[in-house]
């Protein structure tokens, strides 16, 4: 198993100041049916992502800040992921762009400083991090 982290920009219009909610695609797996690769060349099939998300929901939906870990090795909490769904194939809301297979999340930012950083434009993206098997594509 190898560590990985993938970054995606927060949807600019998806910030609710009153409720401290930040929404956006945490990961875009495919566009126009084509698997997308990040700067390190990594990609994740939507169905693989869906299974991982199901486990993530059960394990506590931790939302960190800059992937900083505390002394216990767990992410320093900036809040929690309160909504998430993988839209792929036919599983998507009516009207959603059919060319994008992606993970949509909404995070509630509890930490005051983290929230100020979001508003100040210091934190502008989501990054998913974890472990997985990395296979080279021929």
């Amino acid at each position: 198993m190898e560590d990985f982290s993938i970054r995606v920009e927060i949807a600019k219009r998806s910030i609710d100041e009153d409720q401290r909610l930040v929404g956006g695609f945490a990961y875009v797996a495919k566009r126009g049916g084509e698997l997308l690769h990040d700067t390190q060349g990594d990609s994740i099939e939507p169905e693989v992502l869906r299974e991982a998300v199901h486990e993530f929901v059960k394990s506590g939906r931790a939302m960190g800040v800059m992937h900083i870990a505390g002394d216990d090795g767990k992410p320093v909490s900036g809040g929690e992921i309160v909504e998430m769904a993988v839209f792929a194939g036919d599983f998507r809301p009516p009207g959603m762009d059919p060319n994008i297979d992606a993970l949509w999340i909404v995070a509630k930012v509890h930490d005051d400083t983290a929230w100020k950083m979001v508003k100040a434009g210091m934190l502008t993206g989501f990054s998913i991090g974890g472990k997985g098997l990395r296979e080279e594509i021929e």
Binding site: I10, G41, E45, V48, M63, V65, M66, P75, G130
Partner: protein
């Protein structure tokens, strides 16, 4: 060079983080590459002395030039080090202020405009909060222990368990004004003292008699008779009951009421 492409499978998501996002996609990873260079130039033995001297002179000039450049670089490095140390000291001060919860901390964080530093400060601040919580719990336990000890030392005769009443006393004292707390302590102390007296009296076989009651009157008369007629107090008591049936009846009525 063609970039390798990978597919991740069997993934386990540990965390979704809020992060800064580099404006330039490729700034995520910086790779230092060095082009391959020949180790040595081809060439044979130089036999021409003049050519050799010319080469030496040129090399000497190069060395001189390189030395000057090295000196300049050294000075620049010293200056950069000085600036870095000053910046580091400033960051330490800013960091301490931010972690300590200085009112200006948020501005400092935002001016620092380094999300990683800010995230570290969030981490430290959370550790501070956890430590403060622990300290508060320790202090609370200490206060309860003090209250339990106070019950044991100041009110040892109250019909309570110190372990149970101690926390109650602590909460009660904490919610009262200083004057009220003092009054409560005084009443508890008095109650404790009364219990001591009652216990002592019970040990001596004495009974407590209400003021103005028939029983008190009987006792008073019994003492008078005992003294006047040189009989025991018990005999005097009997005589009072025989000689004053109305008083006896009042005594019985009061006993009945009491029961």
């Amino acid at each position: 060079m063609t970039a390798k492409k990978f597919r991740l499978r069997k993934i386990l998501l540990n965390e979704i983080s809020l992060v800064d996002y580099p404006a330039e996609q490729h700034s995520v990873v910086t790779v230092f590459k060095r082009a391959d260079q020949p180790i040595a130039e081809e060439g044979g033995v130089v036999t021409d002395l003049e050519k050799m001297q010319a080469e030496m002179a040129r090399a000497s000039t190069n060395i001189e030039s390189l030395s000057k450049r090295a000196e300049t670089a050294e000075a620049a490095l010293a200056e950069a080090t000085k600036r870095a140390e000053a910046a580091e000291a400033k960051v330490v001060v800013l960091g301490k202020k931010a972690v300590a919860g200085d009112p200006e901390e948020d501005d400092i964080l935002l001016k620092a405009s380094d999300p990683t530093v800010a995230a570290e400060i969030i981490k430290l601040r959370k550790q501070n909060v956890a430590a403060a919580k622990q300290l508060a719990e320790i202090a609370e336990a200490g206060e309860i222990a003090k209250a339990v000890a106070r019950v044991t030392s100041d009110f040892p005769n109250l019909p309570v368990k110190a372990e149970t009443f101690g926390p109650v006393l602590k909460r009660a004292m904490g919610s009262l004004s200083e004057e009220d707390a003092t009054e409560l302590a005084r009443v508890l102390k008095a109650a404790d003292g009364a219990i001591v007296e009652a216990t002592r009296a019970a040990g001596l076989g004495l009974q407590f008699v209400a003021k103005g009651s028939a029983e008190q009157e009987i006792e008073a008369k019994a003492k008078e008779i005992a003294k006047a007629e040189s009989v025991t107090f018990a005999k005097g008591y009997d005589l009072v009951l025989q000689r004053d049936p109305a008083l006896y009846n009042r005594y019985l009525a009061e006993r009945g009421q009491a029961n």
